[in-house]
Amino acid sequence: MNHLPLIIKREYLTKIRNKSFIVMTFLSPLIFVGIFALVAYLSSLNNDTVRKISVLDESGLFLEDFSSTPHLQYKMLSDTNLEDAKKEAETEEVYGLLYIPKTGDLEGLSKEITFYSEDSPSLSLMGDINDMLESKVNTLKLKESGIDSETIKELHINISANQETFKGKETSKLGSGLKLAFGGAAGYLLFMFIIIYGNMIMRSVIEEKTSRVIEVIISSVKPRVLLLGKIFGTTLAGITQFVVWVVLILVLMTVVTSVFGIDPSAGSPSQQVLENSVNGGTQQILNDVMIEINNLPIANLIIMFLLFFVGGYLLYASLYASVGAAVDSETDTQQFMMPILMPLILAVYVGFFTVIDNPHGTVSQVFSYIPFTSPVVMLMRIPFGVPLWQQIVSVVILFASFIAMVWFAAKIYRVGILMYGKKPTYKEIFKWLKY
């Protein structure tokens, strides 16, 4: 085993000195931030256009309800008829003309209002105008029936049932959402990490075969040690790249947002409206979130996240390593890729459908012990409260499977060397295990 640090060091240095690795490490964040900046820039271009809309209100009911915003200007027309207004709208290059005729009653009015424009108008704009007209007409209608709209507002009661466990712990919808978000993010991160770096390990295992250095190495080192060294070395290189990515993206984002003056949290106008409407409540929501986060078992989550992330990654890495051990060249690996990704995809599905529905149901429980799915499923369950012994059993199973998987890969590797140029089938690999 004293060769392990030596092998890890070589694998790590070889990986991080590789030119394409270096290029990707620095290029990826640039591309990522570049695309982000481009999207932000394009949407800000879109927001800069000012839409002018002429309004001809013959009913006179809505005169005070049209208020202009920076992106939308209303021009109230008077002393003109529809035909003239249309002509004028066309020559003046306004976005459209809203025509509200004078009718006997409100029902009639609601069917007669028309919007004239050059092309089909934007959906969101029409939605906004319709909403505004509708609420005004409804208020008027209520008044007509002799009901004061203020009274209705006062009578309205919002219901949001309090949630509490039998042990008296308060739970809330917001809390559930947060728990899901945490589990989902963890699962997604693991998923990405495996897909990006799993292949790298596989290629690294094939390297000795293609360069034919394998017999020299294998006469000095046990295949198990070699594979472990490769898995750890490549993983370290992967973590290095990941950290560089995160740091670079954060730095670049800060630079980009400050240079271009883009506020990344600024969303669509409707979101702004929403925020404005609950402006007083924002602080309240923030407080709620903080309270919920404090309610989560933070220490437990972080420790388990690290254990499951590392264990899950190592297990899948060793799966990729066994594929590398079984084949002679990368082109032969295709048939083995699907079976590797299937359990991972299954884990994500189980996580997002079953765990959300019932975090402690039988299905969720079973999948949180199976090593190929437990990293995702268990991580999603933990925020909802899982007894410690269950977590420990699951982690132990996970790491034991990792060791078993490396042993399995080493076995295949040892035999794979002796069979140069033979394309392995599953049947063949099964036979190799018995050698």
Binding site: H3, E207, S211, V213, E215, V216, I217, S219, I417, Y435
Partner: protein, 308 residues
């Protein structure tokens, strides 16, 4: 003499295929042992067992008096037939890495590498990547890496493939030199002339079985068959040929000569001594050439394989 390596009744089965069947060999300390056999005979399997790449199904391997154990890898230097180096790694780094895997410290490895690189005049390759070197150059590095940790047992599988004649000679001299310094060498090759030149002892493996084993000179003695190459100047070549044909088995022979003479390979019966044969020949004319035909390693190889 002491045995460095003893292989006892080793068998190895892959699936339904028997790669080695009860093979035993003994390699003396300080000798060069030729492991011969046609392609697919089982030589590489035997070599891999000695290197602990695979384990024998039955039988045992004793190295220097001890059953083979994992720590023995540092006493063995192995140059496999299928060989290569990490293509994108620099020569020096790679040599250091491989040497350290064999148990040398970085410092030791550096000193010995300097010695070998100077000796083979390849010092200025240190910072080059393997992929920038020619095949022969890479082979030289590989040779250095194989012998760097001063192994007691050196195993070379086709060591000269990929070398030009000059470098092949250089490597041959280095191998002989290492033997003189006390190393024991197992040598597997199809180049019979190098077997002839270098090996003290040979074993022939055919279809998973050992069919011949012994000192090269003993085997040659065993395979000689009283055949002599002669050159004879006579007054009448035709008449002499006829009378020779009557008494002996004769075969045509050609060797370089400044004389115009009869040239034959003649097999004499066991009852006739070489001395009597010579006196008979001199009675026929002037004897210019008389050499015993010793079977070459190549002849022995082909003859033994065909017999089995």
């Amino acid at each position: 003499m002491d045995k460095l390596l003893v292989v006892n009744n080793v068998s190895k089965i892959y699936g339904d295929y028997k790669a080695l069947n009860n093979v035993s060999i003994e390699v003396e300390k300080g000798s060069i042992f030729g492991l011969l056999g046609p392609n697919g005979a089982g030589k590489t399997t035997l070599i891999r067992i000695i290197n602990q790449i695979t384990m024998p199904d039955t039988g045992s391997v004793i190295l220097d008096g001890e059953p083979l154990k994992p720590h023995h890898i540092k006493y063995i230097g192995y140059l496999p037939e299928e060989r290569g180096l990490y293509k994108t790694m620099k020569v020096g780094e790679q040599a250091l890495y491989l040497a350290q895997l064999k148990g040398l410290t970085k410092q030791e490895a550096k000193e010995r590498l300097k010695y070998w690189f100077d000796r083979l005049e390849i010092g200025d390759w240190w910072d080059k990547k393997i992929q920038e070197l020619s095949k022969g150059m890479a082979q030289k590095i590989q040779f250095v890496v194989t012998v760097l940790h001063k192994p007691k047992l050196l195993i070379f599988d086709e060591p000269f493939s990929g070398f030009d004649p000059i470098n092949a000679n250089l490597i041959k001299d280095e191998i002989l030199n290492l033997r003189d310094e006390g190393a024991t060498v197992i040598f597997s090759t199809h180049r019979m002339e190098s077997v002839e030149e270098m090996c003290d002892h040979i074993a022939l493996i055919h279809k998973s079985n050992k069919i011949l084993d012994g000192k090269l000179v003993d085997i040659k003695r065993q395979y000689r068959n009283n055949t002599y190459e002669i050159g004879l100047i006579t007054p009448n070549h035709t008449a002499t040929s006829a009378s020779l044909k009557e008494r002996f088995e004769i075969f045509p022979a050609t060797f370089k000569s400044i004389n115009d003479e009869l040239q034959y390979k003649i097999k004499i019966p066991d009852s006739v001594s070489p001395n009597d044969f010579v006196s008979y020949l001199t009675s026929l004319g002037q004897l210019t050439h008389f050499v015993e035909v010793v079977p070459s390693a190549s002849d022995i190889f082909i003859e033994t394989i065909q017999k089995n």
